[in-house]
């Protein structure tokens, strides 16, 4: 089914931001439907302007389009006004390129990045005319798959998906599409879903939830020979080609710029950080490759800004060369360079000085915790001295505005640690006034720590609500002064994120029920209804505290044990125990800390890839 342009215009007559729904942007690719052997729709469970800022989807769009016979299109969650217009007109969820119904594709691939988007998944499936539960979709095609960091605890979503891609999509998706292509060729339209799922389960890095049964303890057990005991995350040995012809949105999106990924993975080993654990090993893109990609992507998009993406920009061994190279090659062409995630050191200030002649944006850094004791617990590896020297360098270099990221609710945290944070904030303010000779602007963002799967803190509980609210009040009282602006996360958001990221398969029923009760766009305050989630939990007879508020025993099976990240449990446990003693573990580029990546991905006699930063 294909929506006509005329009907689309009718639908859009009374809808906000219609550019979300019209496609045909520069560099988008519409292939001939009839000529494609496999048709994939990449679905993002949030608005267009959020999904269009996601680099992973841009990589996959580019990768699949490189195959002449394969077709890939996009679908995003329509905002509630558009959803209402579509439901009223009987128009199913459609893909932007061809305006064909999502249900007409062979593969519907959801990108799962954030727990507070999860209710948009059943909603989008329902809008597409597909049953939200995999068990209620008897046909083999379309097969509904999920990928992205959300799959590293797949269980809360397991009932919705036919298969989940564990690890880097560049590796798994081509194999998965080839398997679907072969299935269509060999079994035809009437092939059974069982047969298809068996083919997919045979691919390394594919988790088929229906091949596993939940146990009472929340973990899962394989049901037959097709199901491996655990599914290991796939990784790209080296970073694949940069998508240098990315789609250029006509409307303003969240990150309205060209992007080049310069490094994947991070070697710092912060114990709270899921990204630092799940994107190992550190893989660098060579300097010349980065510079050529920047040239191409700017030429192909016309963007005026390029973001050099990584988890820790200043850690790339050639970062100065990259920044100088980009600036030299594009001198006089008004190209801005952005470097997210700078380390707290004076080198980062030098880098920031190079790229920001105007000091328009604030200088950002993330000490995460206020006291040295707590920074050692989380293995942040930054001293107060580092922090103050970096801030002083930034003020001296002309910044009047800095932005500081902290967390509260960290394991072992006390009110004293939070008072230390307040003192540190006031010290920064005084330092700024002394250096700048005027009031400086200190933006302080205080989020609440959520213990995430596959990190050393996966056994930790979420802090209690009253603890968090008391510490937020302490900060309001003690971290105030001219120029200091505090912001923090809302408890209910944190609670739901913790519940879903730490949940087991039982939470799938809660998710579905919450959606039926009307939950969607939970990440958007105008739509978030925590009361619906509480009602859903009650109706399903599930105690949220068992997931959020309980410290897990170290010998207890965990729902996400079925996913093998390549990082050893023994390593996580050792880091958890070192955290309890406040012992710091150094950067793994200096010395291997035995996280297990080398053993998992490097066969005997074979070294790590030259792009890895493993010693």
């Amino acid at each position: 089914m294909q929506l006509s342009e005329e009907r689309l215009h009718e639908l859009l007559a009374n809808v906000q931001k219609p550019l979300r729904y019209v496609g045909q942007e520069w560099n988008s690719i519409t292939k001939e439907w009839a000529d494609a052997s496999v048709r994939l729709v990449l679905a993002y469970p949030d608005l267009y302007e959020i999904g269009m800022s996601n680099l992973g989807l841009a990589i996959l769009y580019d990768l699949v389009n490189r195959h002449d016979d394969w077709l890939v299109e996009r679908a995003y969650a329509p905002w509630t006004d558009m959803e209402a217009a579509m439901r009223a007109a009987g128009v199913p969820l459609f893909a932007l390129e061809s305006r064909r119904a999502v249900a007409d594709f062979d593969v519907v691939g959801f990108s799962l990045q954030y727990e507070l988007n999860y209710t948009n998944v059943p909603n989008m499936l329902d809008l597409a005319g597909l049953a939200p539960l995999a068990a209620d979709r008897p046909a083999a095609l379309p097969v509904v798959i999920g990928g992205g960091s959300g799959t590293y605890n797949p269980e809360p979503l397991a009932d919705l998906f036919d298969a989940m891609v564990i690890g880097e999509g560049e590796e798994v998706l081509p194999e998965l599409l080839a398997a679907v292509e072969a299935f269509k060729a060999e079994e035809g339209a009437g092939g059974s879903k069982d047969a298809l799922l068996r083919r997919l389960a045979a691919i390394e890095g594919v988790y088929v939830p229906s091949h596993y049964a939940p146990r009472e303890d929340g973990s899962v057990t394989p049901l037959g020979e097709d199901a491996p005991a655990s599914v290991r995350r796939r990784i790209a040995r080296r970073l694949g080609p940069v998508p240098t012809r990315p789609i250029v949105p006509t409307m303003q999106v969240v990150h309205d710029r060209a992007v080049v990924e310069i490094q994947r993975g991070c070697s710092r080993g912060c114990r709270f950080c899921q990204a630092g654990m799940i994107y190992r090993p550190v893989r660098e893109r060579p300097v010349t490759e980065v510079l050529d990609a920047v040239d191409e992507v700017l030429a192909n998009t016309g963007h005026t800004e390029v973001g050099l993406l990584s988890l820790s920009s200043s850690d790339h061994s050639g970062i100065a060369e990259i920044v100088q190279g980009v600036l030299a090659r594009h001198e006089g062409r008004r190209v801005a360079v952005s470097l997210p995630s700078l380390r707290i050191d004076s080198f980062s200030v030098q880098l920031a000085e190079m790229i920001q002649s105007t000091r328009k944006t604030g200088f950002t850094f993330a000490p995460e915790a206020g006291s040295q004791r707590l920074r050692d617990v989380i293995n942040k590896g930054v001293t107060e001295d580092d922090l103050l020297r970096t801030a002083e360098a930034a003020f001296s270099a002309g910044w009047n505005r800095i932005k500081v990221y902290f967390m509260i609710g960290l394991p072992t945290e006390t009110d004293d640690d939070v008072l230390e944070m307040a003192r540190l904030i006031r010290t920064l303010q005084a330092l700024g006034r002394k250096v700048r000779g005027r009031t400086v602007d200190i933006g302080v963002s205080v989020s609440t720590f959520v213990p995430k799967p596959h990190t050393p803190f996966q056994w930790a509980p979420l802090a209690e609500r009253n603890t968090i609210e008391r510490r937020q009040a302490l900060l309001r009282e003690h971290a105030r002064g001219r120029g200091i602006h505090l912001s923090w996360s809302d408890w209910d958001n944190t609670w739901l994120e913790a519940l879903l990221s730490r949940g087991d398969r039982r939470l799938g029923r809660v998710l579905l029920r919450a959606w039926q009760l009307g939950a969607r766009f939970d990440a958007w305050s105008e739509h978030f209804r925590p009361d619906l989630w509480r009602q859903a939990l009650e109706e399903e007879g599930i105690d949220a505290r068992a997931y959020t508020a309980r410290e897990r025993c170290i010998d207890e099976p965990l729902p996400w044990d079925v996913i093998d990240m390549g990082v050893r449990r023994a390593y996580l446990l050792r880091e958890w125990q070192r955290a309890a003693c406040g012992e710091v573990t150094g950067d793994c580029r200096d010395e291997c800390r035995g996280c297990g990546i080398m053993a998992a991905y490097v066969s005997a006699g074979d070294g790590a890839d030259a792009s890895w930063r493993c010693p």
């Binding site: 019209v22 250029v248 006509t250 309205d256 005026t304």
Partner: protein, 225 residues
């Protein structure tokens, strides 16, 4: 780089996906298009430089057009044929470059002397041709038509639509699709909006599609300061 050396007037059409682009979206779109085309755009000086271009009259979101006009200022002289060819090569779906011509640097801004705009309005309505004609006649017979429009910050402001209407004609009908031709004031002293005219006519119309056909500049208008 401080002083543009050439000024070019571009006439272009907007259709399909781009009828939903706001003037801000179009500004970004053109900047990127021209950068891809390697056009030596002049930028404003100052804290946050932006490319120097001026649209004659922002097209309301939802309208299509075949006569949008934009002036761009360049740092280097370019061959106009080559410029047009490059622009066409970098145009996204919905943008049609129709004409590229040099304008003297000191000429007034395109919006300064704009006087009128002509539109084709297609509306789906069960009304007969005679009923539509009668509605037009009634509309034009009025000496003032009070309408309200939403200003910035959401307040309603009332204005008189009638002096903004130069002429309205029923052009033809195909089934229940009527075509009207509308000539309204357009420019710095106020612009008439065709959908307001349709509403003021009081005919029952389900779907209204509006297309801008022509912009009209006046010779007698005030000179640019």
């Amino acid at each position: 780089m401080d002083h543009p050396v050439e000024r070019v007037r571009v006439t272009f059409g907007l259709s399909g996906p781009l009828i939903y682009a706001s003037v801000l979206d179009l500004g970004r779109l053109w900047e990127r298009l021209l950068r891809r085309a390697g056009v030596p755009l002049a930028y404003t000086q100052g804290y946050s430089p932006h490319p120097r271009f001026q649209f004659a009259s922002p097209l309301p979101v939802g309208y299509s057009s075949e006569c949008e006009v934009m002036d761009i200022w360049l740092d280097r002289r370019v061959d106009l044929k080559e410029l047009a060819r490059k622009m066409v090569g970098q145009s996204p779906a919905g943008l049609t470059v129709r004409e590229v011509a040099e304008v003297p640097l000191p000429a007034p801004y395109p919006q300064a002397t704009l006087r009128a705009a002509e539109y084709r309005v297609q509306l789906e309505s069960p009304a007969s041709v005679a009923e539509i004609d009668a509605a037009i006649e009634r509309l034009l017979a009025q000496t003032s038509i009070e309408r309200r429009r939403v200003r910035k910050k959401g307040q309603l402001q009332s204005y008189d639509l009638r002096p903004l209407i130069h002429s309205v004609r029923h052009e033809g009908v195909d089934g229940n699709r009527h075509r009207l031709w509308v000539d309204v004031q357009c420019g710095p002293r106020g612009s008439g909006r065709p959908e307001e005219i349709v509403e003021a006519m009081g005919v029952d119309a389900s779907h209204v599609a509006i297309h801008r056909i022509r912009l009209v500049w006046g010779e007698r208008e005030e000179k640019q300061a």
